[in-house]
């Protein structure tokens, strides 16, 4: 199933190019704020599934084009991002696992706008990533058990302001501006994805293909990421783990850009970029960064 939110963050299912309202199935969950619905649906998914399947066949739906799609997981309690977790097309060895937190306030959805802050970053990059949505509370799970705790997957852009703050401190705070966490179009439930380590990830800026890589280049696979993260902290339904990006293809985001991102079997979504300061950077792939990432084990910040 493909879980979405739309209009005023109403939860729904994406069936082809139509959206099914699933609020009739949620009465038993009690009153829920806009930010509680998706985690509650995820936590109660097994119980809800028969009714959701019935609704998805019932035809009580509207065309996708007639609704305003929102982020499918609009307010995760935690967004954990894997630090530079790709082999860069085989150019570097598997890195040790590390993470940072990204502000959940940064989440935006399809057709929303990334607004660049006035902070004097050296550049703002797009980082297209496969993100995992946690399905059940877990703590200290082994890699062997970890996939049992995955609810689904979504397409995620870790927008990154570089060279801010104390550059050597690895705070990654330049990734936590409002609007810096676009995701969409849906959460594809785990049963829709036969192998999350065989998915093509693509990102275009103004129609130009920039990132185009397969998740088979991931350094530490998803079970290992979940084992590591849950060894530090309790993960809860709706928590997100972004699995890192392949830096070959990163480029600047700047005023007026139209960004599309797609992961096969999940879908495609679009965001725009606005910069009140109208700064400009070279358009196209950041080849210097790409070369640095191929040649060094130090991740960019």
């Amino acid at each position: 199933m493909k879980l979405v939110t739309y209009d005023d963050f109403k939860p729904g299912l994406l069936v082809g190019d139509r959206v099914v309202d699933i609020t009739p199935a949620l009465g038993g969950l009690g009153p829920l704020d806009w930010d509680e619905a998706i985690p509650a649906i995820i936590a109660n998914y097994q119980k809800l599934q028969p009714e959701l399947e019935r609704l998805s066949r019932s035809g009580g739906d509207v065309p996708l084009a007639s609704v305003r799609l929102r982020a499918p997981n609009p307010r995760p309690a935690k967004i954990l991002c894997a630090v530079a977790n790709y082999l860069e097309l085989g150019a570097r060895p598997k890195p040790p696992i590390d993470f940072f937190f990204k502000s959940p306030e940064g989440v935006i959805g399809d057709s929303d706008t990334v607004v660049l802050p006035r902070a004097e970053a050296s550049i703002f990059h797009h980082e297209a990533e496969l993100a995992v949505v946690i399905g059940k509370e877990c703590r200290k799970v082994s890699a062997a058990q970890a996939m049992d705790y995955v609810f689904g997957y979504t397409a995620f852009i870790d927008v990154s302001g570089r060279n801010l703050g104390r550059v050597q401190a690895s705070t990654f705070f330049g990734k936590s501006f409002d609007t810096f966490a676009p995701m969409g179009p849906c959460i594809a439930t785990a049963d829709e994805i036969p192998d999350p380590h065989k998915l093509q990830v693509r990102l275009w800026v103004d129609g130009q293909l920039r990132q185009d890589y397969n998740t088979d280049d991931m350094g530490n696979p998803i079970p290992d990421l979940i084992e590591w993260a849950s060894g530090y902290m309790t993960l809860n339904p709706g928590d997100m783990i972004a699995t890192g990006t392949n830096h070959q293809g990163l480029g600047a985001l700047q005023d007026g850009d139209r960004v599309e991102m797609e992961i096969e079997r999940i879908g495609r979504f679009t965001v725009r970029v606005q910069d009140p300061l109208k700064r400009s950077w070279p358009k196209g792939v950041d080849e210097a960064l790409a070369a640095r990432m191929r040649g060094e084990t130090q991740p960019a910040r």
Partner: protein, 297 residues
Amino acid sequence: MKLVLYNNYRLGILRDDRVLDVSSAVADLKMSNRTRLMPAVIAQWDKLRGPIERASQGLTGVPLSSVRLRAPDPRPPKLLACFGNYKEFTQRERLPQDMFLKSPESVIGDGDTVELPPHQATIFHHEAELGVVIGRRSKDLPPTREALDAVFGYTCFVDVSGRGLGRPGQASRMGKSFDTFGPMGPCILTADEVPDPNKLQVRLWVNGELRQDYNTDDMEYTVPEVLAFASHYMTLVPGDFICCGTNHQGLGPLQDGDRAEMEIQGIGRFRFSVQDSLKRTWAREIDREMAQRVRGG
């Protein structure tokens, strides 16, 4: 006013070491989860303050020692922490401002236990900090006193920090995000009772030994400047929590069996203990090497 959560996350007022049950004043707030109560109370504070005060009138309450206190902001929507941010009793130029996010899952309260994980950190430090609780939705606050209007109140926070984790040559902030690594308490002292958050004495003891003892007037970036910086990056919402950094002069290890107490003048004191299933040991004293290194910048 000193607001607390206690027992099954009931709302109370702390007055002269007695807890007054004011939960009747917030009974209309329907919560799917008790940990969402405090942000909801804060968001509607203008409307709820009167009823909460009235609910407390005539109550004698119960002794603080008879209840189980909880962290007063047990699952902040966001938990932000200043990087460094003290002058370390020097006159040095201030360093660039920076912050990071800590797991909101890490928060524990008075009487709870910090559980050291089996991870091979070089040491686990206590960092006693002033905690700021956000009162209203805010973006781009000014670095001046006006920013303090966005503050709901203040509390004591210990940023427990596992060192030496992550990749070689690249410090990781994740060593601060283990479950139980965010002790907080005893109450939220509302902002109207804090004339100047940059004139507060902060103290932390381990097993009765005074380790940290500094004033918030040593901050590099004052509370309004911290609020301005954070709210330039992101929208702050009611219940968000900002810890203002620590003065490292006095940091020391936390280890199995330790009993720690932290106090900020006017806010109060709370306690927590430390458990380590691996029973590792470090010198039970202030980490002078760390203090020296941080003083050097």
